[in-house]
């Protein structure tokens, strides 16, 4: 029991900042940067309805990343078992929220399925691919990156 507690304290103590929260914030910020492209494309193809649908998809993608990160950040401080349960439970809850939002708005005239679906998939995968590239380029996650030459052995 004591060993388990000490291990968990070490895990919490070894991370100066929450890396997943930083990644999620970065992803949300990048979603904001790429949003004009999707909004313009949707406006050209589907008009005002397309813009609103693409905007909804961008909001849902950002919410999905931020909620996922918040769940990990919150539960890793409690215990590893809690982390496991919450991530799996959070997956189901986030999918349910996504489905609930779309099913509640799809009857409206302004909702266009194609720009929504296109923005949802392309943004999710595109942002993740870019972020992975960004993290791989630094060869270490930001908090582990050596700051001075003395640290490199």
């Amino acid at each position: 029991m004591l060993i388990k507690q000490k291990t968990e304290e070490k895990i919490v103590g070894s991370v100066s900042e929450q890396p997943e929260k930083r990644i999620a914030n970065h992803l949300a910020l990048r979603a904001l940067w790429v949003s004009p492209l999707f909004l313009i494309l949707s406006a050209i193809g589907w008009g005002l309805g397309g813009i609103v649908s693409a905007l909804l998809a961008l909001i849902l993608v950002s919410f999905n990343f931020l909620a996922g990160a918040a769940i990990i950040t919150r539960t890793v401080k409690i215990s590893l078992n809690m982390l496991y349960g919450s991530v799996l439970g959070g997956y189901v809850v986030r999918l349910a929220i996504l489905t609930g939002v779309v099913l509640s708005v799809r009857s409206f005239d302004w909702f266009k399925t194609v720009p929504f679906a296109m923005t949802l998939l392309v943004t999710h995968l595109g942002l993740l691919a870019t972020e992975t590239r960004h993290i791989s380029a630094s060869l270490a996650y930001p908090d582990l990156k050596p700051t001075s030459s003395e640290e490199i052995r």
């Binding site: 291990t7 070490k10 895990i11 070894s14 991370v15 100066s16 929450q18 890396p19 997943e20 990644i23 999620a24 999905n64 990343f65 996922g68 990160a69 990990i72 890793v76 590893l80 982390l83 496991y84 991530v87 799996l88 997956y91 189901v92 986030r94 999918l95 996504l98 489905t99 779309v102 799809r106 399925t113 929504f116 679906a117 949802l120 998939l121 999710h124 995968l125 993740l128 972020e131 992975t132 993290i135 270490a140 996650y141 908090d143 582990l144």
Partner: protein, 87 residues
């Protein structure tokens, strides 16, 4: 005779719509199983790594978060198919 044929055609149309909805729901449910298993594997192995090497927890959490997000993309594809199929 024509009335009976028209009624049968209407009922067949309704049945097709119903079958579409069942197919969409079934497809979404099946598409969500795979990522569920995948996320379980990712998080399980990440927890194992964090317990073995607590000092690398930050790196493991970064990789875990990206792994979860990538796995979730499969469920999103299922979701998109669901909303496209839904009558």
């Amino acid at each position: 005779m024509l009335n009976i044929l028209a009624q049968a055609a209407t009922e067949a149309g309704e049945m097709v719509e119903g079958l579409k909805a069942i197919g969409a729901g079934l497809g979404y449910g099946l598409a969500a199983i795979g990522p569920g298993v995948g996320i379980g594997t990712v998080v399980g192995n990440a927890i194992s790594s964090m317990a073995r090497q607590p000092e690398s927890a930050g790196m493991v959490r970064t990789t875990m978060f990206l792994g979860i997000a990538f796995t979730e993309a499969l469920a999103l594809i299922g979701f998109v198919v669901f909303i496209l199929l839904l009558p």
